[in-house]
């Protein structure tokens, strides 16, 4: 009887020991000092930087020029290698992409840029502008809204200087622009530009 009590005592003691060891070890797995991507600091930093870049691009008009930097005859953005959107880190063909490259890609931070528009049924559809892969679980997204009008013109960079110049083609006569004309008045469409950044 006493032997059984002793045995029981030792079993319970060992359970207590192992349980507390397990608890102590699993708590130390994540600290703010680890170099993982799940740090709140880094997320806040990236969100602030992305909002700043997007707001500057909108105020200076570079964002509008980048959204309208569309090759109507080939049905894609100017300067892409393959497909409709940019996938390679090549010489940025317009000012908006150049500022994104300087702010993020040169520091090892990946980004995606999507242009979300409303189609004629009222659904939101997404047109990719830059795609670098699936974001990690700690990516941040910042957005801004832009209105396109019937008399906006498409932009191109015919002289290759990295600055987009207006063409003569108006949006309402463009044949293959990704967003449709949803209004009978001078409003063409309302788009939201989403920039998603994450640390690789």
């Amino acid at each position: 009887m006493r032997a059984q009590a002793h045995t029981l005592e030792s079993v319970v003691a060992s359970l207590l020991l192992i349980g507390s060891l397990v608890f102590a070890y699993q708590v130390t797995a994540v600290t703010p000092l680890t170099g993982s991507t799940s740090s709140q600091h880094i997320e806040n930093q990236q969100r602030a930087a992305a909002e700043g870049v997007l707001q500057i691009a909108e105020k200076s008009g570079a964002l509008r020029r980048a959204v309208l930097f569309w090759d109507d005859t080939k049905n894609r953005f100017y300067g892409t290698d393959d497909g409709q959107y940019y996938t390679n880190k090549v010489d940025p063909p317009n000012e908006f992409l150049a500022s994104l490259t300087r702010a993020f890609e040169d520091r090892g931070i990946s980004l995606n840029v999507n242009v979300v528009y409303v189609d004629s049924d009222g659904d939101r559809r997404r047109q990719r502008m830059v795609y670098r892969g699936e974001p990690s679980s700690n990516a941040v997204t910042v957005t801004t809204m832009l209105t396109l009008y019937d008399d906006d013109v498409l932009y191109a960079d015919s002289d290759g200087d990295g600055v987009a110049e207006p063409t003569d083609e108006e949006l309402d006569t463009a044949s293959s622009f990704y967003a449709p004309d949803v209004g009978s008045s001078s409003v063409y469409n309302v788009v939201v530009v989403e920039v998603t950044v994450w640390r690789q």
């Binding site: 608890f23 939101r124 809204m145 008045s185």
Partner: protein
């Protein structure tokens, strides 16, 4: 507790081992408890760090961003309505075209915002009337009728608008090959063939000249401040450029010298000087209505350009009437007031704000004379009945003074108190021995903040409404 100095001969090895085992057990328990304490301390440190790095905003940033997005959207829509429906009257613009454009824009914008679990409402709550003066065909910047020379230098020159608050003032498609060649810095008033826009302020004595000239095949802009007697600065663009005076940009790039419109004291008088030395298009939106002949803006401009409010005229009444000529002045919406309500999970934002795209300086606060009708009742002496109508964007009208002047001296005057946002009335002025003479009738309205605007007309005291001057 069992004695530990051991009686080896008493009891089994078990007891001795049992004693040591108990010691080991207690020691191990102490280590385990200290590890748990360590874990608790570490946990609290991690939680504190995590709590400290959380952003503390309550979501109000998104509400303000939405409001700014609506402001930009409604402002651009108002300008597009003014431009695409130039020639329609003000009631059609505000009653039909602007709501139609808003009905196209609003669902798409709300659809986007709803995807993040928020929504907003935008309702049009009012407008103020203005005039859009534009030249849509590429060519020189000359008025409809030649012979204007209000300034006395830099012929041909003419008065574009006065005295007005101006917004959305843009010169487009200006090509360097049609400009005169010059090099900075120079005094625009002393050259005879460099085009410049002259802006004189009514609240002070300063004036600015924005000169466009060709420099090395490119369009160059220089801003000259008359008070200081020197150039403020200059900017260089491409061979074809768009000069935006209210946004202070040249071809989309910021040009700081062009930001002088923020410093204008009072209202602005805008002149084009050497207007045949430039080629392009232009448009500006001013806060006075006056697109029909006989209205205060046209009368004032015609009087300054051609000596009488009935000569000229300076503008065409619509783009279709202008045909290939220029310029035309049409009804336009100067500002739009919207009610905005934003709802998200934690924030409800309700506000009413005014939208006037590209308005430099403080918001328009000057009262305006919207109608002056003079009836000539002269019999043996001069007698005029002046009916007037005035408004104020802030609703703080104060007084109106009507003066009858002959040869720049006042022969009769009357001051009436007015209040509110709009008022009208009539005054009779007379001069006993003035039959057949030419008089100037000046109507000046002042608001409670001492902002004033005036209007003047020339009449001949002959009991006859025909002829020029009437």
């Amino acid at each position: 507790m069992a004695s530990v100095d051991g009686h080896r001969d008493r009891g089994h090895d078990d007891h001795g081992h049992g004693d040591r085992a108990q010691m080991v057990l207690i020691g191990a328990l102490a280590v385990a408890v200290s590890l748990v304490m360590l874990a608790v301390v570490l946990n609290s440190a991690i939680y504190t760090q995590n709590l400290a790095t959380r952003s503390g905003e309550a979501g109000t940033g998104a509400a303000v961003d939405a409001r700014d997005g609506v402001r930009d959207g409604v402002g651009a829509i108002t300008d597009r309505v003014n431009e695409n429906h130039a020639g329609d009257d003000y009631a059609t613009l505000t009653g039909t075209h602007l709501p139609a454009a808003m009905d196209d824009w609003r669902p798409a914008a709300v659809r986007h915002v709803m995807a993040s679990g928020r929504t907003f409402r935008v309702d049009l709550a009012g407008n103020t009337e203005g005039t859009r003066i534009a030249d849509g065909s590429v060519g020189t910047f000359e008025p409809r009728t030649s012979g204007a020379n209000p300034l006395g230098y830099g012929s041909p020159n003419w008065l574009v608008a006065t005295p007005v608050e101006v917004r959305h003032f843009r010169l487009s498609d200006v090509s360097a090959s049609d400009l005169t060649s010059a090099s900075a810095s120079f005094d625009p008033q002393t050259t005879s063939d460099v085009f410049f826009v002259e802006v004189r302020e009514t609240g002070g004595s300063d004036a600015w000249q924005v000169a466009l000239y060709e420099d090395g095949g490119k369009v160059s802009v220089e801003v000259w401040d008359e008070d200081e007697g020197s150039a403020v600065g200059s900017c260089l663009a491409d061979s074809t450029a768009t000069v935006d005076l209210t946004r202070a940009t040249l071809d989309g790039q910021r040009c700081e010298p062009l930001a002088f419109l923020d410093d204008v004291d009072g209202l602005a008088k805008i002149y084009y000087v050497n207007s045949d030395d430039v080629s392009g298009t232009y448009e500006l939106t001013v806060d006075r209505a006056g697109y029909q002949t006989g209205d205060p803006l046209k009368d004032r401009v015609d009087a300054a350009n051609y000596d009488d409010q009935c000569s000229g005229p300076t503008y065409f009444d619509s783009p279709s009437e202008a045909g290939g000529g220029s310029p035309y002045a049409t009804a336009a919406i100067y500002s739009t007031t919207v009610d905005f309500r934003y709802l998200s999970q934690s924030v409800t934002y309700d506000t009413r704000f005014r939208v006037a795209n590209d308005e430099p300086g403080p918001i328009a606060k000057h009262p305006k004379v919207i109608d002056v009708t003079v009836t000539d009742n002269s019999d043996s002496g001069a007698s005029f009945t002046v009916s007037w109508s005035v408004t104020d964007p802030n609703g703080d009208l104060d007084t109106i003074s009507v003066e009858l002047r002959r040869d720049d001296s006042v022969v009769d005057s009357s001051t009436t108190a007015v209040d509110g946002g709009s008022d009208s009335g009539s005054t009779t002025l007379s001069d006993s021995d003035g039959d057949g003479n030419t008089y100037t009738i000046v109507v000046e309205v002042t608001d409670s903040e001492s902002n004033t605007r005036s209007n003047s007309e020339t009449h001949v005291a002959d009991d006859d409404a025909s002829g020029c001057p009437p």
